[in-house]
C-alpha cells in the first residue's frame, strides 16, 4: 500500500451567506487555497473527488457534473461521494484511497455546502410514503439520544453548556469560523431559547456557506513548502438506522471504525497517543458522547473529561480547536473541515488555535441517524 500525505489545505471564510460567490466560486476559493498551500496548480492534479450532502440542499442534481469545469477536472476522473453527514470525511477517505491504491499520484478533494441557496429544514423534512414525517429537523432526531445519554451516564445538565461555550471561545481564535461570539458565556447559552429539550439555540450548529479542500499525494510527491501531514489510517463504518435494540447513543459502527483506525495506526491508548481531535459535534452534548464512542475514556466517563476542562484548547486532550461544527456548519463540508483541521494541527498551520507540539490528530465525522462514521488519523511523522 502506498503512503498518502496531505500537502495542501484550503478553506473558505465561512458565513451564513456568501453572497459574493457562486457555488463554483465557493469551491474554487477553497481549492485554489489548497493548491497554493501545496505549491501546485490544477494542471498537476490527476483526479478530483467532490463531496456534498443531499442534492436538495442546493437544488442541483449531481452538482459535480457542472462543477467539473470550475475544479479543473476536464479530461480527468471526477467522483461524487454522498454518505449523509459523514460525507466530508468519507470524501477525503475515498480520495486517499486513490493514492494508497497506487491508482493516482495527486488528488484534489473538495467538499461544500451553500446552505443559503436552499433550505435544509425543508430538504430534510419531505413526506415519504410509509414513514413518519420528520418535520423537526436534525435536532428533533438527536435530542432523545442526548436525553438517553444523560440518563445513562448521570451527567449533570450543564455539561452541554460547557461545550457550547468552549467551542465558541475556540472559534474566536479561528478567523475562518462562521460564528464569532465574543460575549459567549454560560448564562448566554442557558438563556437562549429551548429548541428541542435539552438542546438550546446556542447548543446547536449554525447553517453555513463554505467549502474545504485538500491536496493528497503519494510519498514521491510529498514535497510541499509546509511539511505534509501523513495519513496514519482511515476507517468508515455504516449500520442500519432503525431496528429494535440498536444503541444509537453509543453506536457500534463508531466503535468498530475507531477500533479499525487505531489498529491501522498502531494506537493502543488513544487518550495518551492522540494529541488532539476534531470531532463532529453538531449539538454540544455529542462531545462527551463521542469521547466515549471513540474510546478516549470508558462509557459514562466522557462528561467528566469535558467538565474537568480536559477537552479545552489548553487541556490534556483538546477537542475542536477550530470551534468545531458548533461554530461552522456547511453540512457537506463539515466532515472534511474536521479532517483538514486535524491535518493543519500536525503541520503546525493552525495559528492561534494551534495545539503546541501536536504530532498525531484525529478527524471524525458522522451522519444519518448516528449510523455513518468516517475518521482518520494524521501525523507529522511518516508512518
Amino acid at each position: 500500500m502506498e503512503r498518502c500525505a496531505v500537502v495542501g489545505i484550503g478553506q473558505t471564510k465561512y458565513a451564513a451567506k456568501r453572497k459574493d460567490l457562486s457555488i463554483p466560486g465557493l469551491l474554487r476559493e477553497a481549492a485554489l487555497r489548497a493548491l497554493a498551500d501545496a505549491d501546485l496548480t490544477f494542471k498537476d492534479i490527476d483526479a478530483v473527488v467532490v463531496g456534498t450532502a443531499p442534492d436538495m440542499f442546493e437544488g442541483i442534481m449531481m452538482p459535480e457534473l457542472f462543477l467539473a469545469d470550475a475544479l479543473g477536472a476536464v479530461g480527468k476522473p471526477i467522483m461524487r461521494v454522498h454518505t449523509a453527514g459523514s460525507v466530508g470525511g468519507s470524501t477525503a477517505l475515498v480520495a486517499s484511497h486513490l493514492i494508497t491504491s497506487g491508482v493516482h499520484q495527486r488528488v484534489l478533494t473538495v467538499a461544500f455546502e451553500k446552505q443559503s441557496e436552499s433550505n435544509a429544514m425543508w430538504a430534510l423534512s419531505p413526506a415519504i410514503p410509509f414513514q413518519p414525517q420528520l418535520t423537526a429537523g436534525a435536532g428533533g432526531y438527536f435530542a432523545p439520544l442526548i436525553r438517553a445519554y444523560m440518563r445513562r451516564s448521570g451527567a449533570p445538565s450543564h455539561v452541554g453548556t460547557l461545550v457550547s461555550v468552549k467551542d465558541r471561545l475556540n472559534a474566536l481564535k479561528n478567523p475562518l469560523a462562521h460564528l464569532h461570539l465574543p460575549e459567549i458565556s454560560r448564562e448566554m447559552v442557558e438563556q437562549s431559547p429551548m429548541l428541542w429539550d435539552p438542546i438550546r439555540y446556542l447548543d446547536t450548529c449554525p447553517s453555513s456557506d463554505g467549502a474545504a479542500a485538500m491536496v493528497l499525494v503519494s510519498e514521491a510527491h510529498a514535497k510541499s513548502p509546509t511539511p505534509p501531514a501523513w495519513v496514519l489510517g482511515g476507517a468508515m463504518r455504516s449500520e442500519a438506522v432503525l431496528f429494535s435494540g440498536r444503541d444509537q447513543v453509543n453506536p457500534k459502527a463508531g466503535r468498530d471504525a475507531a477500533k479499525d483506525l487505531y489498529a491501522q495506526a498502531g494506537i493502543h491508548d488513544p487518550r495518551k497517543e492522540i494529541d488532539c481531535a476534531e470531532l463532529y459535534v453538531p449539538f454540544s452534548w455529542f462531545e462527551p458522547m463521542w469521547l466515549e464512542n471513540l474510546g478516549f475514556c470508558d462509557e459514562g466517563e466522557g462528561w467528566k473529561l469535558t467538565e474537568r476542562g480536559v477537552t479545552a484548547l489548553d487541556g490534556e486532550l483538546p477537542i475542536n480547536m477550530s470551534g468545531g461544527v458548533l461554530s461552522t456548519n456547511p453540512i457537506g463540508a463539515s466532515g472534511m473541515i474536521r479532517f483538514a483541521e486535524a491535518a493543519m494541527q500536525v503541520r503546525g498551520q493552525a495559528g492561534e488555535h494551534q495545539v503546541d507540539g501536536a504530532r498525531v490528530a484525529m478527524g471524525h465525522a458522522y451522519g444519518g441517524g448516528s449510523q455513518f462514521f468516517s475518521m482518520w488519523l494524521v501525523g507529522s511523522q511518516k508512518p
Binding site: M61, K76, P126, R237, A240
Partner: protein, 351 residues
C-alpha cells in the same frame, strides 16, 4: 494494479414502472441473488458501495433507506456515490487494490418513473445560466443529434437502424422491456418527438436495480469457473457547458478506453451505454470498435434505461459473457450527465 474480477451479476427485470417496490424492495432481491450465485453470505463481503440519485425519488437520503437491503448489522465497511453504479464499482475496484479485503458488493437502483424524467434531469445543469431555462434531457439529446447530422457522417436513417438493431437484440433479454421487430423504413416515417429525434431514437423510462460482486483474483478463482478479470478501468469527464464541447465526439470515452487498454487485444463484445440511438454511433467511433465486435447483445439502454443502474448493467452484462464462457475479451461503457458528459470504460478478460 491487482487483478480484480466480476464474479456475479444480478438485475431486477426492468419495467416501465415497479409501482409495488420502494428502494429496499428493488435492491434486496438482486443482492440476495448475486450472493447466492457465488455461495457467499453478507458477512463475507469486505466492502459495499452503492450508486443512486436522490432526485429520482424526490427526497434526500434515499440511499440511507436502501442500505437496509444489505442488512448492515453488524456494521459494515460501506460508501455511496451519487452517481451511476458503474462509478460505485470503480470505487470498489480501487478499494480492492489495497489487498486487505477480498470481496466487494456493488449495487445501484433507480426509480426513473416517479417524476417527469426529462424535466428532472434538467436539474443536472448549471443552476445559474442553463437550468433556469429548463432544457429537458430529450431536447439536449436532440441538439446533439442535430450536430451529428450537420457533421454529415450519419443520417436519421442510421439512427433508426441503431434502434431497430438494439430492439431486435433485446428480444432475447428477459430483463429488457422496450423490445421488438421494427422496420427501418417505417421508423423514419414516424413523426418527430423532438426534431431530429423520433420516439424510437430515445430510451424508455425504466425502473430497476442491479448488483455486482467483485473479488480479488485468488478469491475469484475459488468462487467461479471463469471470473471476468478487469484488465483496465478508467473514467473521464468533459466540460459541462455544451457550447464548449464538440457534441459529435466523445473525447472522454476515447481517453478512458485508451487508459483501460481497449485496443490492446481483440474484443468479442461491447456493452455500450447509449441512451439515445445517435449516441451509440458517437461512442462506436470514440471506442474505435471493429466491425466484428458484437455491439450491445443485451439491447442496451434503448431497451431498458433505469437511471443510475444502466451503466452498472453494461458492466454486468459484459461480464456475464465471460462468466458464461461465450466471450474471451469484452468492453463495457457507462455514461453520465447531459450529452455524454462523463464516461467510464472497462475491459474484462477471461483468464
Amino acid at each position: 494494479m491487482r487483478d480484480i474480477a466480476i464474479i456475479a451479476f444480478a438485475q431486477l427485470p426492468n419495467r416501465r414502472r415497479h409501482t409495488d417496490r420502494e428502494e429496499v424492495e428493488l435492491v434486496q432481491p438482486v443482492v440476495a441473488e448475486a450472493l447466492e450465485r457465488v455461495g457467499l453470505n453478507k458477512s463475507q463481503i469486505g466492502f459495499t458501495c452503492s450508486g443512486s440519485s436522490d432526485y429520482l425519488l424526490g427526497r434526500p437520503f434515499s440511499f440511507v433507506s436502501a442500505l437496509d437491503s444489505v442488512a448492515p448489522w453488524p456494521p459494515i465497511n460501506e460508501s455511496h456515490v451519487e452517481m451511476d453504479g458503474a462509478w460505485a464499482l470503480y470505487e470498489a475496484w480501487v478499494r480492492l487494490q489495497h489487498g486487505d479485503i477480498e470481496t466487494a458488493l456493488v449495487y445501484a437502483y433507480g426509480k426513473s418513473s416517479l417524476g417527469s424524467l426529462r424535466d428532472v434531469l434538467s436539474q443536472q445543469l448549471d443552476p445559474y445560466y442553463t437550468a433556469p431555462l429548463w432544457p429537458d434531457a430529450i431536447s439536449l439529446a436532440a441538439l446533439q443529434a442535430r450536430a451529428v447530422l450537420d457533421a454529415g457522417w450519419a443520417s436519421e436513417r442510421d439512427f433508426a437502424a441503431v434502434a431497430q438493431r438494439n430492439r431486435a437484440q433485446g428480444k432475447r433479454n428477459p430483463n429488457a422491456h422496450q423490445v421488438g421487430d421494427y422496420d427501418v423504413d417505417a421508423l423514419v416515417a414516424e413523426p418527430y418527438l423532438v426534431e431530429p429525434l423520433r420516439k424510437h431514437d430515445c430510451p424508455p423510462i425504466s425502473d430497476g436495480a442491479a448488483c455486482v460482486i467483485l473479488a480479488t483474483a485468488e478469491r475469484a478463482r475459488t468462487l467461479v469457473k471463469r471470473p471476468a478479470f478487469i484488465r483496465g478501468i478508467d473514467h473521464r469527464v468533459e466540460p459541462h457547458f455544451l457550447g464548449m464541447r464538440d457534441l459529435t465526439e466523445s473525447p472522454s470515452t476515447r481517453l478512458a478506453a485508451e487508459r483501460a487498454g481497449a485496443a490492446e487485444g481483440k474484443l468479442d463484445i461491447a456493452e455500450v451505454h447509449a441512451p439515445f440511438a445517435h449516441q451509440e454511433l458517437i461512442l462506436q467511433r470514440a471506442l474505435q470498435l471493429a466491425d466484428d465486435v458484437q455491439l450491445n447483445p443485451s439491447g442496451g439502454a434503448l431497451c431498458a434505461n433505469p437511471m443510475m443502474v444502466a451503466g452498472l448493467t453494461r458492466l454486468g452484462e459484459a461480464a456475464n459473457h465471460i462468466l458464461r464462457g461465450d466471450a474471451g475479451r469484452v468492453l463495457a461503457h457507462a455514461t453520465s450527465g447531459p450529452c455524454l458528459q462523463q464516461n467510464l470504460v472497462a475491459v474484462m478478460e477471461a483468464e
